[in-house]
Amino acid sequence: MTKMLHGFVAIAFVVGLGAFFPSASGAAPKPSGTLTVSAAASLTDVFPVIADAFEKRYPDTEIKLNFAGSSTLMNQVIAGAPVDVIATASKSTIQIGIDSELVARPLRFTKNFLTIAVPLGNPANISKISDLQRDGLLLGVCDTAVPCGSAAVELFTKNTLDVTAVTRELDVRSVLAKVISGDLDAGIVYVTDVKSAENRVEFVQIPFRDNVVATYHISVVADTREQQLAQRFVNFVRFSTTSQGIMRAFGFAKPW
């Protein structure tokens, strides 16, 4: 039911764009302005493409992107950084912002799954998730303060694994970088991260039933000066076939 409803909203929105701004009248102001969008590290590759598509559709707009671990982004907003939209890799990271009314209600816009990244050639011969329990294995995860870290803990708990990581990086791309360099034997990252590093890293798939899902949320920052444009960007990311198509291409899953 909800699925259908959301689908309907998406269609209504796309159709609505044409209806709200009929080119014939020309009276409606064209969207213009600059938005600063803070996005989770795992969105590093996909968001520039989405931002380009948005700027192409609304030529008088400019999107500035700021990437970091989700908690860092939330901290920046708490500290008063001039951000208009925040997109994080989990709802819990944004929760503190909701509680203190710094951001509007966060809405889910995509999903991602975890995978085991290994250096080219898979030198430690990882073939399944339980191999991560091996003694002396150099395993990297994110710190539990960031979504990829809490997701990793959830993954280990769900599969009743007793694993010890050698490092708890503060964003997922740092884990990936150390796998690519061959300094880690394995790292828990998102499916989309290994896709972005194709040819530089291999991965060991985690079966769907054992896996953990990360739901990405996007929210307008409360004291934005570009309320309308920010809302438009959020809608674009969530509902436009362009944006959702780009996200599929980068390996992100449908949000619903």
């Binding site: 671990g69 908690s71 860092t72 901290n75 708490i78 150099l138 990297g140 710190d143 539990t144 303060a145 960031v146 990581a165 050698v166 490092t167 708890r168 990086e169 503060l170 740092s174 150390k178 360099s181 061959g182 300094d183 880690l184």
Partner: protein, 252 residues
């Protein structure tokens, strides 16, 4: 007037840190196992790094000051590079050199099975790399301001070169040595970028105080501020230790 702006600019953040410190929770925060572990690790690694810097850096400074090696100017420039380099770049460079697939690291791993990233030794390597130039530069200045005739006199009286260095040269450059060691140690204690890049971030193994501050910032700001306060106190302590150098209003 611009001078006062500069003063405010430098002082206000420190005041803010003091004001924002959760004083009631402070003792509990800094006596938590995680904080103590980070503090212990920081003290151990920074002191060991300083010891290594002294052991190898002071002789290096002497070589530079006496211009014993050819191309002293170029060598000095090379030694100063890590001092000017952004620490995270130092971390990347160290990974490329001593990482498991690094220039030297691959050889060490293949023949001896040794790896440095994600170990406490890795932290010492990163901090030594970043902090040693401070000692070398300070000491070189000390050696240069020293008249060589004292060393010559001792040598003509029959002292060997090692004896001259330890009995004549070093005591005379003691003030520069102390200043250099303290600067080097303070830099080692504050090291962040090279450490997290090269050695990673794991409590009790590679998570030093600055890394603990940054990690805490992701989850609990008050913990981060309390830990920062500890480092601020240490920095002020260093300043007091060096008061002869910076607090005098007029050189005597």
């Amino acid at each position: 007037m611009p001078g006062l702006v500069a003063l405010l600019f430098l002082v206000i953040p420190l005041i803010a840190l003091i004001v924002q410190t959760p004083w009631e929770a402070f003792p509990k925060i800094i006596s938590s196992p995680e904080a103590l572990e980070a503090l212990r690790l920081s003290l151990v690694t920074s002191l060991v790094a300083t010891a290594f810097a002294a052991l190898f850096g002071i002789p290096m400074a002497w070589l530079l000051a006496r211009e014993i090696l050819p191309f002293t100017g170029l060598l000095r420039a090379l030694v100063i590079v890590p001092l000017l380099l952004p620490p995270v770049v130092s971390g990347v460079a160290l990974l490329e050199a001593l990482g498991r697939r690094g220039l030297v690291g691959a050889f060490l791993y293949d023949t001896l099975g040794i790896t440095f990233p994600f170990t406490t030794v890795g932290v010492v390597i990163a901090t030594t790399f970043v902090a040693m130039p401070f000692l070398v530069i300070t000491m070189e200045g000390g050696f240069r301001s020293l008249h060589q005739r004292y060393e010559d006199a001792a040598a003509t009286l029959g002292a060997g070169s090692r004896r001259v260095f330890l009995r004549i040269t070093m005591p005379m450059v003691a003030p520069a040595a102390i200043a250099g060691l303290v600067l080097c140690w303070a830099r080692a204690l504050g090291e962040f970028g090279a450490t997290i890049t090269f050695a990673g971030n794991f409590p009790g193994v590679t998570q030093t105080m600055p890394l603990a501050v940054y990690t805490a910032l992701e989850s609990d700001r008050s913990v981060a501020i309390a830990l920062s306060m500890v480092l601020l106190v240490v920095s002020v302590g260093v300043l007091v230790a060096l008061r002869g150098k910076y607090l005098q209003t007029r050189a005597s």
